[in-house]
Amino acid sequence: MDINLIENILFATVRTGTPLLLVALGAMMSERSGVLNLGQEGMILVGAACAFMAAYGAGSLGLGILAGAAAGMAVSLIFAFIALSLMSNQVATGLALTIFGTGLSAFLGAGYVGQSITGLAPVAIPLLSGIPLLGKAFFAQDALVYLSFVLFALVWGVMRYTRLGLVIRAVGENPEVAHALGYKVLRVRYLAVMFGGAMAGLAGAYLSLAYTPMWSEGIAAGRGWIALALVVFASWRSERILLGAWLFGFASILHLLLQGYGYEISPNLLAMLPYIVTILVLVLMMYRQKNQGLFAPRSLGHPFHPSK
């Protein structure tokens, strides 16, 4: 295999893994605080539609990115209100968010199908991008990929080293005790869900402004669900999420490799790969842990309300 091919594959792997990394980091944050938000797919879609509309309308990619993150956060607030303040079933509410987000994004973006914009361009960092093999993958990407590195470092650092991370974990493990200690359980959970919403919105913006770049219905193509599986796969730990996202990114671009070698396989069959990999990974993880809940935050999915 020649070095150019490897460089290109690593480049595509990181690129394809980026939206998964963003969503999964956000989903992990919200799950660490004890909230299971199955609405990731819906939030990505709304983020992608709004990012594209804003970028198209204002002619500014930066504004598009902000709009995507803000839109993701805005719809996550609907979920947060119903699931946290009104204590609804989180599974059902998350599904509702995905159904709602799918419909809303298709509705908003209906007039933008087939429109094109100039997407986010890669920016090569001098010197570093010249490193053989890895330079192109890590230092010749677009700004959102770099932002995903920064956000990863941030989430990793906060969860590992800060008091804030400790509080989030405490709220996710045992909200009663956290409440008794005087921490605002609901506030922490609201913020964690909103952070997740912003991250999913960013991932959407990445899809419609950099990865494709265009808007089409269902552009997220199940990435929200794959990211949720990724969080389980990573046992709720950020560094494993990073590796997992790239692994999935690699699985999604495997067809490039196959085509590179001249194999002719239907694109529809190849498109099934990431989903099959997700199932395999879930099975493997569960088989190894024997017990599904081994690493999950203890209060994951259980409502808590101070008035209870």
Binding site: F81, I82, N89, V91, A92, L95, F100, G103, I276, L282
Partner: protein, 363 residues
Amino acid sequence: MRIEKRLQDSPLMLYLSPLLALLLTLISGALLFALLGRPPLGSLYTFFIAPISDGYGLSELAVKVTPLLLCALGLTLCFKAKIWNIGAEGQFVFGALIGGAVSLQFAEQQGWWVLPAIIASGALAGLVWAGIAALLLTRFNANEILTTIMLNYIAVNLLLWAVHGPLKDPDGFNFPESALFAPHTLLPVLFEDYRVSIALFIALFMLVVIWVVLSRTLLGFQLRVMGENHQAARFAGFNGKALTWLLLLFSGAMAGVAAISETNGPVGQLIPTLSLGYGYAAIIVVFMGRMHPLGILLSSGLLGLTYLGGEMAQIDQGLPKSITGLFQGMLLFYLLACDLLISYRLVLNTRTPGAVTTTPASE
């Protein structure tokens, strides 16, 4: 204003909450139409009333209700036992794919057994697709929400592959569609000139069967116990694994039959956009219908109406068809929000805060 736990769940609110959710959805819909510069009441009329103002409209509603009802009945049993099968969509698509392939096989073959064989093949395919999730759940403890959703995407890609490849109509001008099914492989319609087929009877028959099973048999009781408390079910000696298998296989088979009701009914061939999201909408049907057969019948009518309304809004007002999904999502959001009122009540805060002694973090 604050919320206070009721001593007992309110049975009244259990039934009022869906109506309240519908009312809130209508109000939000009116606001949305107004925002889009359309007359709110007139638009609501176009969306919810005009589609069913004549006999043809009502028969079209029955066409939409049939697959929704079939999918929802299977899901009801799963959800009652807290098995989150989100895969009705994939089971539907895979059922359509296999049932469609069988239908094409029988294009030349006549016989009374052809239709039953097609329906059975659809049911079997849906069953197999759900069986994968059942295997992964019972054997490997892999989360069924995620596996069934992955299987949805896999099924859709399989269908796309089939209509682009092996099942593509050779005389179809290169469109990704199968050949039209032969007339004798189509489900007979109930009335001349209307599209509603005998599948509606299958759906209604299954509705009665499930009603009886839920209310009159040990199985129905086991389901409810398992849904309330998995551990209690185990202590009572119920075989949780067998029950999980049974429920998933059954709901898969129902989704497969729902698929045949579409492919061998109004659609009459395999096309890439076979399901209009029936499998997902059926989830809303189940929640709206309070997991009760009669409620599910009513709520599948309401959800069916959102499809007709979406089509009508598209034709009449030039609004995107996806307004259907928007209304469906809103409906479920409002329902879940209103369900708070089942076990809590709103109390106006008249007393000064602090005067009430509350034990923090009780329970």
